[in-house]
Symmetry: C2
Subunit: 353 residues, 2 copies
């Protein structure tokens, strides 16, 4: 399987979150990124990762490089397929290339894309399509001894998936049986499975999270669940709380983008809180669901996203985060394994075997 | 339009929540309840409301009494159509009777029911089917001067819809322009419109609530939004928080069933909190979403459901609730308009025009 990523006109750090995650973590080969406005560049020039992956002008060039899958690599709030993507999607489908779509809007909702797929004999993998038989949350207990970690955040798109994957890698380096649970489209594309909890029927958010956490706990001693949104997000907080109560973590890692001061996409009308307030908010909300006798779930580390900052400023922000919260803090991307290990070590100390 | 309610084997207080709400509040005529196990009784004998409405053995008897609609009158968690209901639904559809369904499972997902509807030329109204073009929450401001009330609860099924409808009636008695916003299947059946926020794609819970609250605020000075679930409910808390942040109430009414001590349907593993704790939890959670400069949303009254208690015990519970919280408390059903007026008066004093 060789994958090309579609990010037409949007292959930049602020807009290509899915593409960046896949370029950084996917276990499959990415052969090209499609963005005619940046054709000829290297992916790393555009988004800082994916060195060696060329940006090409169209789907035909991606197919010439061996692409058998075209993944939609951006995800605007609201989840509509951008009209500018439709010609490339149609071309891929009529040439028999499978499309992976992580948006709320389904590819075959567009009759022209469905017709193109019929002509090309191509299939579509809807990454956000939930299972049809989800349970209501709160009825299943997980294997004793398994520990569940949830990444939580000050906002959407601050690095929760990244922190989760880095913590899993760090725990594995330490010899632990750790498993990543994907709850969003990018994580699902990377992990090859999972449920997009923001796309299930609302009554089943917690049930979907519980199902995944309990299943993973059968196979792993550490289950690291990818968080979504934020409890203070005006649009997505319901998903965040349902995921928190369904995953029912033992410990949490608070994720924050160092220079984010208000909710992304909301014109500064929704300022973020202090890290210390987020620790309190998440611990409070986690406690609402735990029956008496269970120890309260604590935030035990801070994962800071310092992309775009100078080294000196990044280090100062990491130090500040640690001082403000009294918790270990790290940027697992900038610092590399040293940073991720610091987060993983905090988890192991908080819930020893 | 004449409506029969299907509650086969389940026409009792604990299981027929939808039927009870419709019998108490619907603006249309209910001609019969279908439950062969209770045929021959009067509805009021079974559930305490609906005096004069006969319980009949089957759909044919309901049609003989003029029914043109058959409403599914129960709603188990998980939202599947009980197998025991399918024969009655098929009979109704093949005789041309419209079915109203408030469950998650859609009637036409059953090929035999779809075939019966085709034979009878009957239609189905899916009360929980959401609009397809919902917005993400947090982007729309409502008309200034309109005040939004949200009923919130210690658990699911404690009386939030009932309290909302009684408060609307009380505000109207006081000469206010008040409107009820239905967010669940029973409320939608009664009001003739609304969105079941537990049935939307999870990313759109807040957006759906905001849409309804803002639209109602164009027509009314008081918008009373029906709450759902509870922030401490292991399965439904995500819906509750999304609704809270989307509706963005100015004031809240806390609803509780006096003798409920643990989450319904969870085998005592999830005890409820004190009323005082619920006040704090809801005010905290509401504050997470309000931008600075907006006054915090307060819980200003307690609606207590004292069904099945003696008068003396009910009065003691109402007094206790008022003492514990320092807020006006009432059971708007047991006390009638006097109780509802007490709740409405608390709202008017909390947010004067």
């Amino acid at each position: 399987m060789k994958v090309a990523i579609l990010a037409e006109g949007q292959f930049a750090r602020a807009t290509a979150k899915t593409a960046i995650g896949v370029l950084r973590y996917a276990p499959f080969e990415v052969v090209a990124v499609v963005d005619s406005t940046r054709a000829g560049k290297d992916a790393a020039e555009c988004v800082g990762v994916g060195g060696g992956v060329p940006v090409v002008a169209g789907v035909d060039e991606a197919i010439a490089r061996g692409a058998t899958v075209l993944l939609i690599g951006t995800a605007a709030a609201g989840g509509l397929i951008p009209d500018g993507y439709r010609p490339a999607l149609a071309r891929a489908l009529e040439r028999g290339v499978e499309v992976w779509n992580g948006l709320h809007e389904r590819v075959f909702a567009d009759p022209e894309l469905a017709a193109a797929a019929a002509r090309g004999g191509a299939t579509v993998r809807e990454l956000r399509e939930p299972p049809t038989d989800l349970p209501i949350g709160g009825h299943r207990a997980r294997r004793e001894g398994a520990r569940v970690v949830l990444t939580v955040g000050s906002d959407a798109a601050v690095g929760k998936m990244t922190a989760s994957l880095e913590v899993v890698a760090a725990l594995r380096r330490m010899g632990e049986r750790a498993e990543f649970v994907a709850t969003g489209q990018t994580g699902i594309a990377i992990a090859g499975g999972g449920i997009a909890v923001d796309a299930v029927v609302a009554d089943f958010i917690a049930g979907a999270a519980e199902l995944m956490a309990c299943d993973a706990a059968e196979r792993a001693d550490w289950v690291v669940v990818e968080g979504q949104g934020s409890l203070t997000h005006p649009g997505f907080s319901g998903v965040t709380l349902g995921l928190l109560h369904g995953a029912a973590p033992d410990v949490m890692v608070l994720c924050h983008e160092a220079m984010r001061h208000s909710v992304k996409g909301y014109d500064d009308r929704q300022p973020l809180r202090s890290l210390r307030e987020y620790v309190r908010i998440y611990e409070d909300a986690a406690s609402w669901r735990r029956p008496p006798g269970y120890p309260p779930a604590r935030v035990v580390a801070v994962a800071l996203n310092t992309a775009d900052l100078s080294s000196a400023l990044a280090q100062a922000m990491i130090d500040n985060a640690a001082n403000e919260t009294g918790l270990p803090a790290a940027d697992p991307i900038r610092e590399g394994p040293v940073g991720a290990d610091r987060l993983a070590q905090a988890l192991r100390e908080a819930v020893p075997a």
